[in-house]
Symmetry: C2
Subunit: 364 residues, 2 copies
Amino acid sequence: MTSGERIAVLGTGVIGTSIAMAAARAGDEVAGFDADATVLAKAAERSGLRPEASLAACVKRSTLVFVCTPVQSIPRLAAEALVEAEDAIVTDVASVKSHVLIEVEAAARPQDLDRFVGGHPMGGSERSGPEWASASVLDGIVWVVSRGARTAEASAGRLAAWIDRIGARPVPMDPARHDRLVAMVSHLPQVASTALMGLAATEESGEPDILLLAAGGFRDLTRLAASSPHLWSDILLANRDAIAEAIDLYVKRLTDMRDMVQSGLADEVERSFAYAKQARLSLAAKPQVKTGVAVLQIPVPDRPGALADLTAALGAARVNIEDLQIVHSPEGGRGTVHLTVAAVVANEAERALAGRGFEPVRLA
Amino acid sequence: MTSGERIAVLGTGVIGTSIAMAAARAGDEVAGFDADATVLAKAAERSGLRPEASLAACVKRSTLVFVCTPVQSIPRLAAEALVEAEDAIVTDVASVKSHVLIEVEAAARPQDLDRFVGGHPMGGSERSGPEWASASVLDGIVWVVSRGARTAEASAGRLAAWIDRIGARPVPMDPARHDRLVAMVSHLPQVASTALMGLAATEESGEPDILLLAAGGFRDLTRLAASSPHLWSDILLANRDAIAEAIDLYVKRLTDMRDMVQSGLADEVERSFAYAKQARLSLAAKPQVKTGVAVLQIPVPDRPGALADLTAALGAARVNIEDLQIVHSPEGGRGTVHLTVAAVVANEAERALAGRGFEPVRLA
């Protein structure tokens, strides 16, 4: 049942085209449609998908339809695809699920809704355009599969089987729960970062020197604030209730910490920090590094080539870098690299670095 | 007046010993004292400072005394040094200033207070112990010079001249203002990170899958949460009012954003994000990169050696890496590097990377 699907991709941007490439790699037949003929031609060239001139022509005879357009156009296109391909499962790839399912339920014919499944591949590229597509961006990623009120269990199962077959990891999840969890671990960090950068920028108008004192920690926390305003405005508004709830919980926690500090409760502050530290250290750099990770702190001179020496030492030892962060002294001078590697290769990494004159210190 | 100071360092950990090394490099005579004889011996070996067996012997005949001990012991040691070295300027290096100045004013004789100056070198190492000291960690850093109510202008001027002479950048700043600014750009990011990690960890007890959905943004925002609980508890409590105020402003901003999202004000949300994005992009990776920076986004395969190829290409082109962040797909697969370089060398960096088969895209 799960081999030899006939895939239709509506919207052949970076995600749609990556899906087309992963499907083709797995032996599926793939057709694509995009309202922008240039984008469609590029997608066809990159992925080998069969370009079609209309939605109807694209989904005709398909067994699995992926709607990969911006959130606002999903309901209309999904409803149309459900009509045109009367035996196909239809799914989307948006990063919010309840909103999409409700809108699709409003737009589609009730008798078609058993064949619509919400989906969210948790990965892919920050770029747009088919030229950045690749089957491998989907390798091993978590792909949330969300059933709406009327989605048939068999439809969700069919999508999950396909996800598994192309090498990703299907995770069934209730749409409201998905939205609540991504609000907390994906949307809230974005809001926290943007709010911090916005606050410092506002303060700067009265205190031009404030960013003179901004160190590496500030830069870490505000990196996300450079994300696309339009994209994020769409996401936040489509998940507004879950985001409001996540911000409320965060504000509560900040306020509790504020009160502990203001009241001089040293032990409670320290306990609260120790709890978060423990949680952060046990957070694997990437979830598939099942055996855990180690973090090495390595001083490096701030000169061209220093990081090249460090990464070359690891590359030569066949140690993969799970994560790497440069921590500068606030105003330059020597820097420190925080390097995350799989725990099983931490000793090898330490030896390789020491062999090139670095002095790694293991933090975790 | 500013050459040939006789320096005394009280507390010869990493900062004290780095100061001793920078002073020696500039031609000053340096004596040191530490309650821990082993630490003192190591500091003497590393920096060439003259070890002394007591505070009195150390500061005798000195012209400039640096108190480099933990916050709690500064007032007592500063008061003693002011008595023992009756012509010397005495200063500290703590990361909070009002609290220290108030405590010193309470501990010292009033007639000595014109010679005490608050100081905060904004840099140095996250390590402890003289073996990690280096004169170069102080090169070019901002070193805040804060006068208390009774500090003579001449004393502050003398310290500032010395800071300038050893190659750092003296920045005179009122202690309350210093504390307010570091609360915002140094202490608040720490609290924001710890609160976010603590919140997610608390949620995880009811939702074991939550961190499965945590992507690169969450990891960025929570990296600081692995900092030392004891160190941070001390800092926060010594700057409690400024921190409470910074948290209040942050909570206000988060709450405003929450209300905008909840009310569906798309334009306002987008404007707020655009404001923060603009501010983030104009925040130089390091303040001494006066000509601005460029950020390149570069897809890299997630395999050993990939980052080594990238950094080697830059090293060969003599391009210094100002900042580098690995953005993994949430669950692995291909990653993306966000690379910050000085704007003046951005074209060179792009060329060097393209020459090795990378496809950098310039974001800013």
